[in-house]
Symmetry: C3
Subunit: 444 residues, 3 copies
């Protein structure tokens, strides 16, 4: 960090957390996006990104079908207008207009009459949750199919059925959104979220809404770091971004993948591949300071787009912030992940935690005690109580002593919070007070 | 360590622990010192140090008022002759002659008549322990006040009171005691204890008495290390010593702060800021070998004078040896920390543990196995049993095997005791036996 | 490892575990060896080694009495033909022909009549197990004696006894067996076991049999490493081998001492002195993958011949594989460690575990992901399921992702198995599959 940035940070007021009623606003955005049939590519993604532009000045990027992105190739663009199964009486017994989950995502167009036996080879259900429609995809293997509730399947009689999928799979483009907020330094914080799922609310309209409102809050404040928000289709989208921006990834100092942040579960944080990157420690500090139940998982190469950012050729310090992880709630990838599954208090809590995490990252400077031999006399500066002999140190005085004791140039404020078991906020305030009295200087 | 010292240590007999009846002697010293009104400065401290000179040839050092010591300045010298509160009937209802805790330590002189309401702004009590007088100070903020039991306060009626504090606060000096015992090497072991408290027995007449009798015991024996005993007023005293002796602190190889070593609680050791310095490991080894309940605390920048010795500009390997820590016993800083609060067996145990700790430090040499390829044949040297086939190794034979196996030049005897889970005494004896048979050589 | 070896390993099929009915075969060998009176030296050892030559082409090595081996000297050779105690009625009350444990191993020849009182100074019993004969030795202190059950001792009356030990202790030689199996590389895996015990089945005919049948299995397969099997008398035998082969020990990359591998207890592994050598981690991985109860002990310089291989002048990566450790089963070093004490399922399990351990060591290569930026597209290579959206990753797909993610040149397959918590077999298969598709290359 350059000298001027560091001093700017040091003298700056802590950002005022001027929150709008964020959970209501996030929920309204989720409601607006919920009906759209998204996929890896196509009009649904474009419509989604256009709606996000009403909130933040998002750049919409596109990559043509067939473009090589590392080991992959951008697939054909998929669009769908309608789909149904009719019985011989002409009744629509499965109807895409009622739920876009009914179609195997990326299905080829089809229109034919077939027997029940043949139809069944194209149907997907969830026997263990017989009322829910599963969400299934076939991106990279050309196929067609329908997803329906197991009860619907059980009710099918031996009949001739008309199946219609009015879709197209043609050369086109992959589309994603990118929003860059420049800060005092070129170092970037990446916030990335996947946008490829159709009508699934927690996975991942919650992540999209959280990213949008984090971006709005950060845009209104001074920032030490620059911030890059990505709204990409899962896997292929982050691979495309990395392929197109390979020269730039060295600027990424910290990153968070946001996914499934609106359910009632406790917060789950999955560490980056580096395991103890500053972002990992910042998240854990915030979760510890808050005190609510939470879990921290080691990195594993399965999950969301951290798989790509943490591939060994990049190994970026990017962790994944979730509530209940993928596959660990019964509603996961089913029609039950709907608007009612979203909990407003959880959304607000996810927002607040992410704000605190970024506050740690923004303020985690290293200072040097300017009076390293013995303690400075805090009392004469009004920083210490005047009556001696009490049994307990006062919390904020302890924070001052910890910051002084560990500000030897090799501990940053996060190190000090960890070692002292005090909240980051107390350590940050102590550093600000000591700085004001000339007892600390930032490491340049 | 130089060659000659190392060899001297290696060939020397283990020091004979020729203990006087130490706990009785320590207790007699505590009784003698108890009535004196000590403070940061003044006649009480000087009288205390003169009494200690009856036991050890202590040098009494003084630093004039106003001397700059790092960020601090030596305060004015405080002396007091008398103090009381009289009611309108002329009865002394609070009397310094009965307990020197009754005066807020460092009170300005005062003599006036005041109402109950005004008086109350100068009174300190402990509502949760209504029969005890609290100990309070106002060293660095000019003020006056009285400390009394909460019951006394409750009994005060709406009356006119005469308050008298016959004290003086004038330019003078800060006084401390220093006793240096030279050893075979220039490396020093520091033992420091605070002497500024008035009539409080455990905090810290117990620490003073323990330091005095440790010094007497060490003076009677050969010593590898030199020893420096400091008897200083808390905080400002150690800051003054460090300021006056800055060039010398590099000689301090190990250090212990002694405080509150006479209560019935288990032993508490607080690690140095280095966390795993040799002194830290020596203390923990002794506590583990002994097996009695104890606790080991991580370093924190609050407590006793380790705060100064472990400030980042010094970062000396100095830990704090206590029984119940400051603030963790109800009698702490109250009139209940009196002569009856001291337990003679605890005093004796603190003495014995400190002796063992210093024995570890004195004997913790590194040796090199002179027969490193395969085991040497211990049997032909009479170091091993002659009948084979028994199920268990004998403890002292195991100690021999451990010392041989780990004496590769990178493990000292404390390392070996830790790895083997054997007592340091067994490891030390094994090393001595192997040395006698030429199977080890000291690292020079 | 050289380029060609590494590539050979990479392209080779996993060794087919073509097990003969190993536990029955091992037990037959144990039965054959059980009656022989072995010792440090002498005909019993030679006869034992000749029997082993029926199974593997063992070289029999000898070292003459008086040869200096490091700090030791090869002892005289001991042979025994007969021994007994007769009472005054001429009845043999203790008879070597009934159990070779009856003689203190290495007893001097004796033939005399003595009183009960004098006889008792030469008798060894186990009062806590009054029906069992203890096993005792006096290798390095010239003595004679008998071992008998405590009940036998109690039945002795005040009589004159005739004692006869028809033994000889003369210049001769120490004998051991060595079997070297060359592999693709010069790096060696050492498997060593002690052969000096007379009629004790678990300690250590079980270890001898296991080593023999491991050697047979390995001889039938391609091997990356060379293998050296040692069958030596305890302590002096391994010291003699190390002394005669000092220039060669640098080739030893991994080693296992085998002892007490046939009892019903769970497996115990004692780490090498290096604590986390590859062999230590390989054993622990196999025990964890298997899931059965087991224990892992830290290194200590007491036990079997790991004492010599792990002496500080060698510090070889040699651990000890046992079931119940020495001294931890009541039958240890008594006549109750007989043929019935051996459990065939335990023998088979010890064999199978050792095979798996050596399989880990043989296959623990390091590979480099050839597509390190983002994941490669596994689906187009048929390595990944085609329908997306399922809640759980499939185990073998997870193994592929883990191998890809960690194959950055600094993790070998054992590292990956440890970090992923997947079985080594799954990781090994994933690496083979990825290698086949050109997605990995071995580190050369």
């Amino acid at each position: 960090m350059s000298r001027s940035n560091s001093e700017a940070r040091a003298s700056r007021q802590s950002p005022v957390l001027h929150e709008e009623d964020s959970s209501q606003s996030m929920y309204q955005l989720i409601r607006k996006l919920y009906p759209i049939c998204r996929s890896l590519t196509g009009d649904g993604v474009r419509e989604t990104l256009r709606i996000l532009q009403e909130y933040i000045p998002l750049a919409i990027q596109s990559v043509p079908t067939g473009t090589a992105v590392f080991d992959w190739s951008i697939p054909k663009e998929w669009n769908i207008r309608d789909a149904y199964i009719k019985n011989s009486a002409g009744e629509k017994i499965v109807d895409f207009q009622k739920s876009n989950l009914h179609v195997l995502n990326y299905s080829l167009p089809v229109r034919q009459k077939i027997s029940l036996a043949e139809l069944k080879t194209h149907l997907f259900t969830l026997p263990e949750q017989p009322e829910w429609i599963p969400y299934r995809t076939s991106y990279y293997n050309e196929n067609w199919g329908f997803c329906l509730s197991h009860n619907q399947l059980m009710a099918l009689t031996d009949d001739e059925y008309e199946v219609c999928i009015d879709s197209s799979l043609r050369d086109g483009e992959l589309t994603y959104g990118e929003y860059f907020l420049s800060g005092e330094t070129d170092g970037e914080v990446l916030v990335s979220t996947h946008i490829c799922h159709p009508s699934l609310a927690n996975d991942n309209l919650s992540g999209i809404a959280l990213a949008v409102f984090l971006a709005r809050a950060l845009a209104a404040e001074p920032r030490t770091y620059s911030y890059r928000f990505l709204f990409t289709p899962g896997t292929i989208g982050s691979i495309a971004w990395l392929s197109c921006n390979e020269a730039r990834v060295g600027q990424i100092k910290h990153g968070l993948i946001l996914a499934c942040v609106g359910d009632r579960g406790k917060i789950t944080y999955k560490r980056s591949r580096r395991a103890n990157a500053e972002i990992d420690r910042a998240v854990i500090q915030v979760l510890k300071d808050d005190g609510a139940p939470h879990q921290v998982l080691d990195f594993s190469p399965y999950g969301y787009d951290e798989r790509q950012f943490c591939s060994p050729g990049f190994n970026l310090p990017v962790g994944c912030f979730m509530r209940t992880p993928h596959g660990k709630f019964p509603e996961y990838h089913t029609s039950a992940d709907d608007l009612e599954f979203i909990d407003l208090r959880s959304l607000a809590d996810s927002f607040s935690k992410c704000r605190s995490i970024l506050d740690v990252v923004e303020n985690n400077a290293t200072y040097v005690n300017q009076n390293p031999k013995c303690e400075p006399q805090l009392g004469k500066r009004g920083l210490y109580g005047t009556v001696g002999g009490l049994a307990e140190g006062r919390q904020q005085e302890l924070a001052l002593l910890w910051v002084l004791n560990l500000s030897d140039g090799s501990h940053n404020l996060l190190d000090i919070a960890e070692k002292s078991a005090l909240a980051f906020a107390a350590i940050k305030k102590a550093a600000a007070d000591l700085l004001k009295h000339g007892l600390l200087k930032p490491v340049i």
